[in-house]
């Protein structure tokens, strides 16, 4: 193990390490803590210059007021309306593509696979104008569905990479044995491979949820009004309205960050498994 386990060092080193951990964490998360505290700071504190001390009381009314005085509830709802169909659509498509590329040897297999891989790296801006025009002509401009459609297509690239690598690591004998038994190809997919893909599906579901929830660029390009914008774009426009109202900006930020954070803590193992794909061989 590297570095040398701290238990093997002297007691002084161990105590030092136990102190260093929370201190380092405090510094690391300082911007987050600051915003969390500001989100419950009453506006009177900000007015009187109390920016960093303890809030004079916990102003939960900041959270109430962002929901009553701004469309943030609507933005959150829109985010779900984009994110959930994207997760479902992407997983459906990439299970199919991953199966095709992971199981069958055919001409063009590697070429198609690397097309999906390369597509992941493309800068969004080169897609922007045509995708916006396309969404417009499909009648889906400024709708959550139009946004979800693009996300499904784009994320299929990343998910195919993941699924294909996962499937090609499955034991081939399983599929060969099924074929000898005369099991049809689609049945092999449905009854044999799909049940084995559960961990990959779980990992991608949390990952895609977070990516799409946090997307800002496409939200600003494809949606324009409060009735369709997801929370990232909404927060950006609220930030323009709440000039210097840091207690409201902070409360809004915390609310916007909450769903992916909860998702992460509930599904941590899957999340990290998805993210570190390829980091070990």
């Amino acid at each position: 193990m590297f570095p040398r386990p701290i238990e093997k060092s002297g007691p002084a080193a161990r105590v030092m390490y136990q102190i260093a951990l929370p201190v380092a964490l405090f510094i690391w998360l300082f911007p987050l803590l600051g915003v969390a505290v500001t989100s419950v700071r009453p506006s009177s504190d900000l007015a009187s210059g109390n920016y960093f001390g303890m809030p004079s009381y916990f102003a939960w009314e900041n959270y109430v007021s962002i929901f009553t005085d701004s469309p943030i509830g609507r933005y959150i709802f829109n985010s779900f309306k984009v994110t959930i169909p994207t997760v479902i659509g992407t997983l459906a498509l990439s299970c199919l593509t991953g199966f095709a590329l992971g199981i069958y040897k055919f001409k063009g297999n590697l070429l198609i696979f690397f097309m999906f891989v390369a597509g992941n790296f493309v800068p969004f801006q080169i897609l922007m104008v045509p995708v916006r025009d396309l969404t417009y002509s499909l009648g889906m401009y400024n709708t959550t569905m139009g946004l979800a459609m693009f996300h499904i297509a784009f994320q299929t690239g990343f998910c195919t990479l993941f699924m294909r690598n996962f499937i090609s690591a499955l034991p081939k004998e399983l599929i060969e044995a099924a074929r000898v038994e005369g099991v049809k190809e689609w049945q092999i997919f449905w009854h044999i491979v799909l049940p084995l893909m559960r961990p990959a599906i779980a990992a991608l579901a949390v990952l895609i949820f977070t990516f799409i929830w946090n997307d800002f660029f496409w939200a600003t390009v494809l949606t324009t009004s409060a009735s369709t914008q997801p929370v990232t774009a909404g927060l950006s426009s609220l930030n323009g309205q709440w000039v210097a109202a840091w207690h409201l900006v902070s409360a809004g930020s915390i609310i916007a960050a909450l769903p992916p954070v909860l998702m992460f803590f509930m599904m941590q193992k899957h999340f990290i498994a998805g993210l570190t794909l390829g980091a070990v061989k």
């Binding site: 193990m1 590297f2 570095p3 040398r4 390490y17 951990l21 690391w28 998360l29 300082f30 911007p31 987050l32 915003v35 500001t38 498509l93 199919l96 593509t97 199966f99 095709a100 199981i103 297999n109 590697l110 390369a118 790296f121 493309v122 800068p123 801006q125 080169i126 897609l127 922007m128 104008v129 045509p130 025009d133 459609m149 693009f150 297509a153 784009f154 299929t156 690239g157 195919t160 689609w186 997919f189 946090n214 800002f216 600003t220 390009v221 990232t232 950006s236 930030n239 840091w246 900006v249 902070s250 930020s253 916007a256 960050a257 992916p260 993210l275 390829g278 980091a279 070990v280 061989k281």
Partner: protein, 305 residues
Amino acid sequence: MSMSSTNRQSRTWWQKNQQTLTPWLFLTPGLLMFAVYVVWPIFASFQISFYDYDGLSTKEYIGTANYSELWSDRAFKTSLYNNVIWLVLYMLAVPLGLMIAIFLNQTVRGIRIYKSLFFFPFVISQVVVGLMFAWFYAPNFGLLYKVIEFFTGKGIAILASPHYATYGIIAAGLWPQIAYVMILYLTGLNNVSPDQVEAARLDGAKGFKMLWYVILPQLRPATFIAVVVTVIGALRSFDLVSIMTNGGPFGSTRVLSYYMYEQALSEYGFRMGYGAAIAVVLFGIMMFFISGFVWKMIRDERGMS
């Protein structure tokens, strides 16, 4: 014997070709979506970059005029220059992420919670990260402002200064990026062969020498991915610029991704042709890196099978 041969003849066309056709049937929906929303738009953008197009009226072919305009556009040069700064400074995420990973790669009680809390910034939207750092940098009361004021007697409003604003944004971007790299290395360190480490220890290797000669070679897959995601992250730097400064002050924090958006789709005008030309340049830069990455991946893939 005869049974099986009649069986073979009576197999339908579908049964005979099942194994060749199935992969294509499975690929069709995904390929179709990907072709329509990702592959075709790349070519379409190349085409649009030769037109004068405002997104509504008909396009007018103007040859390479957009590109020659770029050549003399100061804002474009600033953006390009800032992209280089982003790329160089963003690379700091790799060693810094490795440092934190090494710091946290212990087995003391509660370390798992520490690891996930250190990873936290990556889970948060860049919009929120941008707002957090804007608060941290805020003039007059922001903590960084106060700290600088304490040491030098005069605070600096980072995001209002054409000299510092880009660095301020990059620092904000590094925060989640370091967390990402850290988690890649933590996974990598978890898989370092204990035998080799022990053997090297017996040979007297320790500290930096151990890291450089024994550990890092084993972390190569993690390093590769860390570099790839960091390069992509640096070139995709749109969200933070948009949230923290809108490209300002005086356009000093523009990067190509933001400048493209500004030209093509903001209140400053709908110059989609010109925007597409900027996107093509950005695409070219990204292609330079992608082709390297994909080339390495293909080589690995061939080597494996």
